[in-house]
C-alpha cells in the first residue's frame, strides 16, 4: 500500500471556473454582483428597483437561480437587457448556484451590450456561501421579518459579503428587529461590509445603494 500526498482544495474545480468567469466579465467590461438571501427577503424586488433607478445609466442583465420555475425571470424581463433563468432542480447542487452554471449562462448573454449583471442566487443562507461564481461583489440581504439574529445563526455568508442590505425597513414599526444589534453583529463578523438600510416597497434608501454600485463599477474600471 502506498500513500500519495494530494493536498488539493475540493472546491478547486468550482474556483477555477469562477476565475474564468471573472476574466470573461472583465474582458467585456461587465460588473457582476451576486445577490444572496433567504427566500422572500427581497432579492428580485431589489434587482427590479435597482434596474429602474439605474435605467438611464446602465444596461443590466440578470441571471436568475431557482430550484424551479421562471417566475422571477418573468418579473425582471421588462426592465432587463437580458435574462437567463437557471433551474437547479436537476443539477448536482440544487441549493446554490455554482460557477459552471454561470459559465453557461454567460454564453447566452450579449455581454458587449451589458454593463452590470445581477446574479440572483437560490434563496438560501447556507449553501451559496461555499461557492464563488466569478462575481465582483457579494451582497447579502436580510429583511426585518426574518429577525436580527441571522448573522449569528448563519455567519459564513455574512463574513464574505461586501455589502449587507437590510430590506423591508417600512415594516420597522410592526416587527421586533433591533437594528443596532444587527449592525453590531455584522460589524463584529465583517467590519469591511457596507450596510444599507432600505425598503424596496417604498424605495427609501435604494438610491444610496445604487450610488454604491456606480462607485464600485468606477473603482473596478480604474483597477483594470
Amino acid at each position: 500500500m502506498k500513500k500519495i500526498e494530494v493536498i488539493q482544495n475540493i472546491l478547486e474545480a468550482n474556483e477555477t471556473i469562477a476565475s474564468r468567469n471573472r476574466q470573461l466579465l472583465n474582458e467585456h467590461k461587465v460588473f457582476c454582483i451576486n445577490i444572496m438571501s433567504a427566500p422572500g427577503a427581497g432579492k428580485t424586488s431589489l434587482i427590479l428597483q435597482t434596474m429602474k433607478l439605474l435605467k438611464d445609466k446602465l444596461n443590466v442583465g440578470v441571471i436568475e437561480g431557482d430550484v424551479a420555475s421562471t417566475v422571477d425571470a418573468e418579473k425582471v424581463q421588462s426592465e432587463a437587457q437580458a435574462v437567463v433563468q437557471i433551474n437547479t432542480r436537476n443539477m448536482p447542487e440544487s441549493c446554490s448556484l455554482m460557477a459552471a452554471m454561470i459559465e453557461s449562462a454567460l454564453k447566452s448573454m450579449p455581454l458587449d451590450n451589458i454593463d452590470l449583471i445581477f446574479i440572483e442566487n437560490v434563496g438560501n443562507l447556507i449553501c451559496p456561501s461555499e461557492f464563488i461564481l466569478g462575481e465582483h461583489k457579494r451582497v447579502v440581504i436580510s429583511s426585518l421579518p426574518e429577525g436580527d439574529d441571522k448573522p449569528i445563526k448563519y455567519p459564513l455568508i455574512f463574513i464574505d459579503a461586501d455589502a449587507v442590505i437590510v430590506n423591508k425597513m417600512d415594516l420597522l414599526p410592526y416587527v421586533d428587529f433591533d437594528i443596532a444589534a444587527f449592525r453590531r453583529s455584522i460589524e463584529g463578523l465583517n467590519p469591511k461590509a457596507e450596510i444599507f438600510q432600505l425598503s424596496c416597497k417604498t424605495g427609501e434608501g435604494v438610491e444610496k445603494w445604487c450610488f454604491w454600485i456606480l462607485e464600485q463599477i468606477k473603482a473596478n474600471v480604474t483597477k483594470q
Binding site: K2, V6, C127, E130
Partner: protein, 113 residues
C-alpha cells in the same frame, strides 16, 4: 444538502491522482474538513458509496479529519474556540472576530495499491 457536487469532486481528484500513480485500487481517502465548512461527513459518505461504484475507488474508506472552529479576536488577538453562537471573546468580551481555523475543505492524501 450540497454534498453531491463536493463528493463528485472528491471522487474525480482521487481517481486522477490514483491514475497518475498507476494504482489499481484506492483503499482510503484522507479528507480534512473544517467544522464551519458546512459540509456533513455522513452525507459525503452516502454520496461517495454511489458515485465510486464500478471505479477503483469503490469500497474505499473515507477518513475525515475534522478541524474544530478557532476564532481570533480583532480587539485583543486572543485565539479561542467558540463555546456558543455569540462568538464573544473570553478575554475582552468583544464580538469582533475572524475565523482562523474551521473552514478547511481538502483532500490530504490517498492510500492506494
Amino acid at each position: 444538502m450540497h454534498e453531491l457536487g463536493i463528493t463528485e469532486n472528491i471522487v474525480n481528484i482521487a481517481l486522477t491522482k490514483a491514475g497518475e500513480a498507476q494504482a489499481s485500487k484506492i483503499n482510503q481517502i484522507n479528507l480534512v474538513i473544517g467544522e464551519m465548512s458546512g459540509f456533513v461527513a455522513d452525507c459525503i459518505q452516502f454520496y461517495f458509496d454511489s458515485l465510486s461504484k464500478d471505479t477503483i475507488a469503490q469500497g474505499a474508506v473515507l477518513h475525515f479529519e475534522l478541524v474544530p472552529a478557532q476564532l481570533r479576536c480583532r480587539n485583543c488577538s486572543t485565539i479561542f474556540t467558540p463555546k456558543d453562537t455569540l462568538w464573544a471573546c473570553p478575554e475582552c468580551r468583544e464580538r469582533s472576530v475572524e475565523i482562523s481555523k474551521g473552514r478547511e475543505l481538502f483532500i490530504e492524501s490517498i492510500e492506494v495499491e
